[in-house]
Structure formats: structure tokens, C-alpha cells
């Protein structure tokens, strides 16, 4: 794996694989590999892949799905990919109610390019391009992707979940609680089910990037699960089909 140790990308890849197999969707699954840390996903997920230019995964997914409605198509995108350079494609795909699935890894920073400010960077957060911390008056405020996509009429399922465990209270407690992993997997399955029902699904995962945050893995997990979730509250933002009740 090329993912950094402690990064949630590897976990998400495993959960997606597991969800695909639980729903027996491996054969018809096509993943769109977005520019960012998820771009090498084709090395790990044994399904069909199409690479997308930076930010354009929802447009590529639209092209696939419109011509081949029998396929299951999804992307794993970074926050910069989905909410900065690719925001127009995301919003318009949601607005058209494309039956596609977008997973967004929200770690409040550009990971692959080495730690620059993302649209999700918190106020005050130091990045390589906000050395004095992000300031509302200069760089604006963070974008809440889930809230934004949920406000689009065409979107059917909008959820924010976490791949990061709650604060570790004692040093011998395991980093990942089984329950949180199971929850994340369920959310992924829900997103795929919504696509199979013909709806647009967007799931954002709170994640870490300890390397670019200049923290230890443990500090990063605590920061994400205590600070990031304040700016980006977890929960169900939209569930038109009631997939979570089923």
C-alpha cells in the first residue's frame, strides 16, 4: 500500500471492497480513480477502473452510468478534488440526480500535493499555504460539502460518517473500535443501495492526514474526532429513500 501508516484511505478501500462483496456487486462495479491519494486505487480494488482528471469524477461517472445503467459506478475523491476544483461537476451531477455514488475523504488538507489549504481547512489551521493559519477575511471559511449537497434537490442520500475512532482514553485501548468500522461499512452499503434504487448518493468521511497536519497519528485521530467533527457534524443529512430505516 502506498498510503501512509495510520491514514484512513486504506481502511476505506477495505470497507468499500467489503461492501461490494456483501452486496455481490463486484462484477458490475466501476470505480473512478480521482486525482489525489485515491488515484492508485486500481492497485488495490480488483474491479474495473477509469481514471478521471482532477475534480471531474462525477462527470465521468455520468458518462458511464448514462450509457450503461446496469453498472455500479462510484468514486473516492479528496476534499479538494470534490469541493474545490470539482465542485461544479459534483453539484450538477447531484442536481441531475445521477444514480452514482461519491465518497469524499475529508481530511481538511491537500494530502497528495503535500499539505496545502483545502476548501475544508479549518479556521486557524496551519497548512503550507496558510502558514499563519486560515483566516476568514483572507481565505474564507471552510465549505461544508454534506450540507451543500443535501441542499440540492436531486441528491437522494447525503451522509457524513467518520473513519476515525473517538478520543482514546487509555493507551491500551485499541485504535479502532469494531463498531465504528461496521458503521462506516453500513453507510457505504447504504450509498450503493441508493444508487441501485436510482438515486444520487454522497458520503463524506472524516479522516486524518497526520503527515501534513504535522502531528503524531494519535494526535491526529484526536484532532479529527474532536475538532473536525465540530466544523463538520456527523450524521444523516438526507435520506430520501429511507435506506437507513430498512
Amino acid at each position: 500500500m502506498h498510503y501512509c501508516p495510520g491514514c484512513e484511505h486504506g481502511l476505506l478501500t477495505r470497507l468499500v471492497a467489503s461492501a461490494l462483496d456483501s452486496l455481490k456487486l463486484r462484477k458490475q462495479a466501476v470505480m473512478i480513480d480521482s486525482v489525489g491519494c485515491s488515484v492508485l486505487a486500481y492497485k488495490y480494488l480488483n474491479i474495473d477502473h477509469i481514471q478521471a482528471p482532477h475534480g471531474r469524477a462525477p462527470a465521468v461517472m455520468t458518462g458511464v452510468k448514462r450509457f450503461r445503467p446496469d453498472l455500479l459506478v462510484f468514486s473516492v475523491q479528496g476534499d479538494g478534488d470534490a469541493l474545490a476544483i470539482g465542485l461544479a461537476e459534483l453539484i450538477h451531477a447531484a442536481s441531475r440526480g445521477e444514480s452514482i455514488t461519491t465518497f469524499v475523504v475529508n481530511n481538511a488538507v491537500y494530502g497528495m500535493t503535500g499539505g496545502q489549504m483545502a476548501p475544508t481547512t479549518l479556521l486557524g489551521q496551519v497548512t503550507k499555504t496558510t502558514p499563519a493559519g486560515r483566516q476568514a477575511a483572507i481565505q474564507g471559511r471552510p465549505i461544508d460539502g454534506a450540507k451543500l449537497v443535501a441542499s440540492i434537490d436531486g441528491a437522494s442520500y447525503v451522509r457524513r460518517a467518520s473513519l476515525v475512532p473517538k478520543p482514546i482514553t487509555s493507551s491500551d485501548e485499541p485504535m479502532f473500535k469494531q463498531q465504528e468500522v461496521e458503521d462506516a461499512k453500513q453507510v457505504i452499503e447504504n450509498a450503493f443501495k441508493v444508487q441501485l434504487m436510482g438515486g444520487f448518493s454522497y458520503v463524506e468521511f472524516i479522516s486524518t492526514c497526520w503527515v501534513n497536519w504535522k502531528m503524531s497519528i494519535k494526535q491526529a485521530k484526536i484532532f479529527a474526532s474532536t475538532q473536525l467533527v465540530k466544523q463538520f457534524p456527523l450524521g444523516t443529512y438526507k435520506d430520501v429513500f429511507g435506506v437507513e430505516d430498512k
Binding site: 492508485l40 474495473d48 477502473h49 482528471p53 448514462r66 461544479a88
Partner: protein, 370 residues
């Protein structure tokens, strides 16, 4: 208003239609077996989008499965990429500023080896420019255009009827090489109306063995342009360059009009080829044996034919709606062995015949002669 009904398509007998270039391109694409069209409005190519919007869902065209207006040329190009990756005969039409926006995706498609067709109704530029015809996108279309070193085959047309034939050839070549193909026309031809017979074409058989979504157990397709290991990427680029060399070798195509005995040969394409034919005919009436070499495919340029006339020491006059783009290819073929003249016209209109004639005569008789 033109409509393509059973009596006017390959599905039945042909009948003359009075169409503007954009409409002919749209019906030509349907006739070629178009599966998916994505587009964004822009003058002067919007009528391609509008014509296909009107014909989408027509039970006569069961192959035409997807029509979608995108939110930008960026989105349209990437929809194209997705549909083409699953094996659709996919196409868009745009004009110069929109063609600029699509270059990134065309580069990705060249790198990922995904075939699709982009038609560019070249208007005058740079910037918002003017809405009239120009051939300023010639280099962008034929020398890559996006990032990286790649080429696309570029088709040209000089009549509405010929424009209607380009989609079939474009799809055939796109799939043959697994590479994007550009149809480069211009504002003039886009809006010019002519009576044409829509081309009757056979069903296009293309190789789809590489596409995603085949759902075969145990085999999977990865369409990717990324190789972080330099030696792997070196091999990939070598493979791509091999394809571009094969295009150069096998896909040159040009019309030779009265060139056999010519004392001077005009080189012109698109709308200017019509003007050049007039110049040739008039010159012949006046005793000057002029000819026209009209590239039908702009890239690869017709180097073999150009070299033939250079070997005969025939002076060449390139006439373009730009500051000299195909001119560079012609000069390369000439290798300073023959005189190469140039008439370049910019701004959104065509030069008058007199300008071309006087340049041609100067080339043949010298500054004082003729």
C-alpha cells in the same frame, strides 16, 4: 426545419436535404451510429446540440442512447470520457473557447487510450474573439493541444456534404487507434446551407475488447494514464508514439485537384479550399496551370503528396485563416527546395480572391512578372 425521417437516412432510401453544416454534422453522426452526445451551447456550433436534442428518442435511431447538455465544456468532455470508456460511440461539438476547455480531457483520453470525437467549429480568436470563421485552432487540434506529447487525427471538410461524412470516418479512426479524433470545421461551414444527400454508411464495427463494464469473471479493465514508475511510463509513451507514427504513415488523406500538370499548387483546406478552387479555375482560364492540394486530414498532414510536388519543383502557395500553421508543415516538406508562399487571413472573414491571385502570380512570375 430539417428533420431526418426514414426516407432520408441509412434506414431507407436517400433524399436531398437542405442542411446547414451543423445539422449535417449531427445527422452524419447519427448515421455513423452515434451512441452518446454531450455538449454545451456555444456559437457557432450550438445547432449540433440542438439538432441532436430534437432527434434524441426518435425510434428510428435505436443506437442513439444518450443525449445530455452539460454544465460546461469541462463537464461535457469528461462525460464523453466516461461513456467512451464503456465503448460508446461518443461525440461532442463545440467552438474554439470551448475547445480550449476540453484540451485537458483530450490529453487524458490520449494517455488512457480512450476513443471519442470532438468537433470544433473554429471561430476567430484569441479570447472571445469574433464569431466569424478562422483556422487558428489548427495547431491546437493537430499538435496535441493539451499537456504532454500526443497527437490526434484531425479531419477537415469543405462542403456540407463532406462534413456529414466526417463522423463515420472519425469514429472509425478513433477506435482503430484508440485515440481521440478531432473534426475541425469553421464558422462559415457551420452556418452554410447546402442541399446534400446524407451519406449511406454501413454499420461501423469497432473493437470494444478493451472497454470497462464487460462483467467477465476474472478479467478486469483499468483505463489509466498514470505510471509513477518512470520505466513503465517510458514504455507507455513509446507505445503511444508508435501509434502516432502509424497514423502518420497510414492516414494521410488529401484531394488533388488539377495538380498533375500544375505550375503552381495552392494548399488550402476547409472553407478556403472552395475559394482556392475558384482561383485555380480562373487561373486556368487565363492560361496559368494552377492546382489545389486539399488536405482532407489535417493531421497527419499530406507529407507524401507534398514531397511528391516538391520533387517536381512545383511552387506551393498555402492559404489559411491563420498566421501560418499548416504553412509550417508545408515548409518542412519543401525543405527550401521550392518556393512556398503564404496568404494568411485573420479576423473572422475570408480573404478576397484577388489577394490570393496576386500572391499566386508573384510566386510563379516573380515580383515584376505576370
Amino acid at each position: 426545419m430539417a428533420t431526418l425521417d426514414a426516407s432520408k437516412s441509412k434506414y431507407s432510401n436517400n433524399e436531398k436535404m437542405f442542411l446547414e453544416g451543423n445539422e449535417a454534422l449531427a445527422y452524419g453522426a447519427i448515421n455513423a451510429g452515434l451512441n452518446a452526445f454531450f455538449g454545451y451551447p456555444i456559437t457557432p456550433s450550438s445547432e449540433v446540440l440542438e439538432t441532436l436534442a430534437k432527434e434524441f428518442g426518435n425510434p428510428l435511431y435505436p443506437n442513439f442512447k444518450v443525449f445530455l447538455q452539460a454544465s460546461s465544456e469541462l463537464e461535457a468532455a469528461n462525460m464523453l470520457l466516461g461513456a467512451a470508456a464503456t465503448g460508446a460511440l461518443a461525440m461532442t461539438a463545440t467552438s474554439s473557447p470551448g475547445f480550449s476547455l476540453m484540451q485537458e480531457t483530450i490529453s487524458y483520453a490520449a494517455g488512457m487510450e480512450i476513443p471519442f470525437v470532438v468537433a470544433d467549429a473554429n471561430r476567430a480568436g484569441p479570447g472571445l474573439g469574433s464569431l466569424g470563421p478562422e483556422q487558428g485552432d489548427m495547431w491546437k487540434a493537430s499538435k496535441g493541444g493539451g499537456h504532454g506529447d500526443y497527437r490526434c487525427i484531425v479531419l477537415s471538410a469543405h462542403t456540407v456534404a463532406e462534413l456529414a461524412q466526417t463522423p463515420f470516418l472519425a469514429f472509425r479512426l478513433a477506435f482503430k487507434y484508440r485515440n481521440p479524433v478531432i473534426i475541425l470545421y469553421d464558422s462559415y461551414l457551420a452556418k452554410l446551407k447546402e442541399g446534400i444527400d446524407l451519406p449511406t454508411v454501413e454499420d461501423l464495427m469497432v473493437d470494444r475488447s478493451w472497454t470497462v463494464g464487460q462483467q467477465n469473471e476474472g478479467s478486469r479493465q483499468i483505463l489509466n494514464s498514470l505510471n509513477l514508475e518512470p520505466d513503465v511510463h517510458e514504455d507507455h509513451e513509446a507505445h503511444l508514439q508508435e501509434k502516432f507514427r502509424a497514423m502518420l504513415e497510414h492516414e494521410q488523406r488529401a484531394e488533388e485537384y488539377l495538380t498533375d500538370d500544375a505550375e503552381v499548387i495552392l494548399v488550402a483546406y476547409g472553407i478556403l479550399a472552395r475559394l482556392a478552387k475558384k482561383v485555380v479555375n480562373k487561373a486556368r482560364g487565363e492560361g496559368l496551370k494552377a492546382g489545389l492540394l486539399r488536405p482532407i486530414i489535417l493531421w497527419p498532414p499530406p507529407m507524401t503528396l507534398l514531397e511528391k510536388y516538391v520533387d517536381r519543383e512545383t511552387p506551393l502557395l498555402v492559404v489559411e485563416l491563420n498566421a501560418g500553421q499548416l504553412y509550417e508543415d508545408v515548409k518542412q516538406a519543401a525543405s527550401r527546395r521550392v518556393d512556398v508562399g503564404f496568404v494568411g487571413h485573420l479576423g473572422g472573414s475570408v480573404p478576397n480572391i484577388g489577394t490570393v491571385e496576386s500572391k499566386m502570380r508573384r510566386l510563379v512570375y516573380g515580383r515584376t512578372g505576370g
